[in-house]
């Protein structure tokens, strides 16, 4: 969380594509602006962003919630007033970069459980103002049809794990920080390196799973 995006992408470049087309080794000033021998600047960044999403997905599956909340604490995001924590016509659209939910609460600190749609029929008879809940459905959180227990409003507090893609500006400005916890950064680079070299099945999730399970 104290490491810049520029530093990370530079490290990746030095692993998989260390020189520019002019055969000059990448440095901080050139990373993100000129193409390497193998990858254009954007492509290299795309690989890095894929690795970030893959790592988050693997951790979500492999680690229990308590451990996950510590290991990727830097990815925890919280939306307060305004979009995307707004329910409109009973729907809240999940924000870009959403990986997994943590909690949904009202401004009065009332918990609203987020349920899978598979339990809709069981849950529906419990719907009441004192017992609100919503369902995950595709890229949204949805209120039970016809329910008024979660009214349309824009002041819900939504906690979630999110990984938003970095842009080339994040690389070149030298100030944008990587949100992953520092101890995961070497592993992140390993995943990105393997994606870049297309080792095994080119599936960022599968590569990430393998990296995490190495211990």
């Amino acid at each position: 969380m104290a490491v810049t995006v520029r530093s990370q992408v530079l490290k990746l470049a030095l692993r998989v594509d260390p020189r520019t087309k002019a055969q000059v080794e990448f440095v901080g000033a050139t990373i993100g602006t000129v193409a390497g021998n193998r990858f254009a600047a954007q492509r290299l960044l795309d690989i890095y962003n894929e690795a970030r999403v893959g790592l988050a997905g693997a951790i979500r599956v492999l680690m229990p919630p308590e451990k996950r909340a510590t290991v990727i604490s830097g990815l925890i995001l919280r939306s307060t007033s305004g979009a995307p924590s707004t329910f409109t016509s009973g729907v809240l659209t999940l924000p870009a970069g959403f990986i997994d939910h943590i909690a949904l609460r009202t401004s009065a600190d009332v918990d609203i459980p987020i349920l899978p749609s598979s339990v809709l029929q069981i849950a529906s008879r419990h719907d009441a103002a004192a017992n609100p809940f919503v369902f995950r459905e595709g890229g949204t959180l949805k209120v039970l049809p016809g329910s008024t227990s979660v009214p349309d409003a824009s002041d819900y507090e939504f906690w979630y794990y999110g990984v938003t893609d970095f842009t080339l500006t994040d690389v070149t400005n030298g100030t944008s920080l990587e949100t992953y916890n520092d101890d995961l950064l070497p592993r992140l680079l390993n995943i990105a390196e393997r994606i870049a070299n297309a080792q095994g099945n080119y599936d960022p999730n599968a590569i990430a799973f393998d990296e995490i399970q190495k211990g």
Binding site: P65, L115, N131
Partner: protein, 306 residues
């Protein structure tokens, strides 16, 4: 209505259970939490009712219904399939106290007699009896007797009474200090004109009713106060307090709740084994009440809880 616990709100209780099971609230058990907590509290209260029954004794004022009714004007309906008689323009509304009373109604030239089986609403009752109309008909007139054929009664419909333990009912009247409980058989043979019964009220508990007789010197039953063992109050909000005495029973109910949750949600780690803790809690509960309980019975209770 004050619940028995002073320390444990529903929210605190449920969150405690989730915390011990390493669960967050995003699961179906959280949505079902009020019912699950009711189930846990009821199970524990019922299981240990011999220790806590006095805590649940509740007094309610009851008036026996000695009012007859008749139809004023217009017509009513009889629905054969449900045996429901509906007449909107009665002189006074039907009530739950009409159950058991004799009812007579006219349909054209035919007159029917039966007994009120249940109270449906202020305009309707269901009727039991022989040779009642087999088809839906229009009812021309209704007469309802002022009392049951055997005397007066009090209906216990609507009372949330603990029925799975030995039921202790106490009935007191403003009209007489001599209110005597007896069996239904004894009540049937009770003589209200006998000198010793002149100032007495006799009663028998039967199913959903308390049947009554009064001695010849009494003109009314007065107002009754019935003390009965109630069931725990249901939880309807996170701010409600549990209707269970604070102390070891809360720990026992917590174990029961965790067991109920584990039946609905895949746990991230094995449920903690509370058998030893529960055995100690149950043993100390009985000792502190000055009662004995065998180890076999404790084992049986623990199996029921978990």
């Amino acid at each position: 209505m004050a619940s028995l616990s002073r320390d444990w709100t529903a929210k605190r209780f449920f969150q405690h259970a989730l915390s011990e099971l390493s669960l967050d609230p995003n699961n179906i058990a959280s949505v079902q939490r009020f019912e699950l907590m009711d189930q846990a509290v009821s199970a524990v209260a019922s299981m240990f009712y011999d220790l806590v029954s006095n805590s649940y004794l509740t007094a309610v004022t009851i008036l026996p219904d000695t009012t007859g009714r008749y139809s004023n004007s217009g017509t009513g309906t009889w629905v054969a399939a449900t045996k429901t008689l509906t007449f909107v323009d009665m002189n006074t509304d039907f009530g739950s106290g009409d159950v058991g009373k004799t009812i007579v109604f006219r349909v054209g030239a035919l007159v029917y007699i039966g007994q009120v089986a249940s109270f449906v609403g202020i305009d309707a009752v269901t009727v039991d009896g022989h040779n009642l109309p087999a088809a839906d008909v229009t009812v021309d007139y209704v007469l309802l007797s002022s009392s049951t054929p055997t005397g007066n009664n009090i209906t216990l419909n609507g009372l949330r009474m603990m029925r799975t333990a030995a039921i202790k009912l106490v009935l007191a009247s403003t009209e007489s200090e001599n209110v005597v409980p007896m069996s239904e058989e004894e009540l049937n043979g009770w003589q209200n004109g006998a000198p010793k019964n002149n100032g007495r009220i006799a009663w028998a508990y039967t199913g959903e009713f308390i049947n009554l007789r009064k001695g010849a010197d009494l003109t009314t039953y007065g107002t009754f106060t019935l003390t009965y063992p109630r069931v725990p109050y249901a939880i309807t909000a996170d701010t409600d307090y549990l209707d269970l005495p604070d102390g070891a029973l809360i720990d026992i109910a917590l174990a029961k709740l965790e067991s109920l949750i584990s039946n609905r949600v895949t746990l991230p780690k094995p449920m903690p084994d509370k058998s030893t803790e529960l055995r100690g809690a149950i043993d100390s509960l009985y000792r502190s009440a000055g009662k004995e309980i065998s180890q076999e019975l404790i084992t049986s209770k623990i199996k029921s809880l978990l």
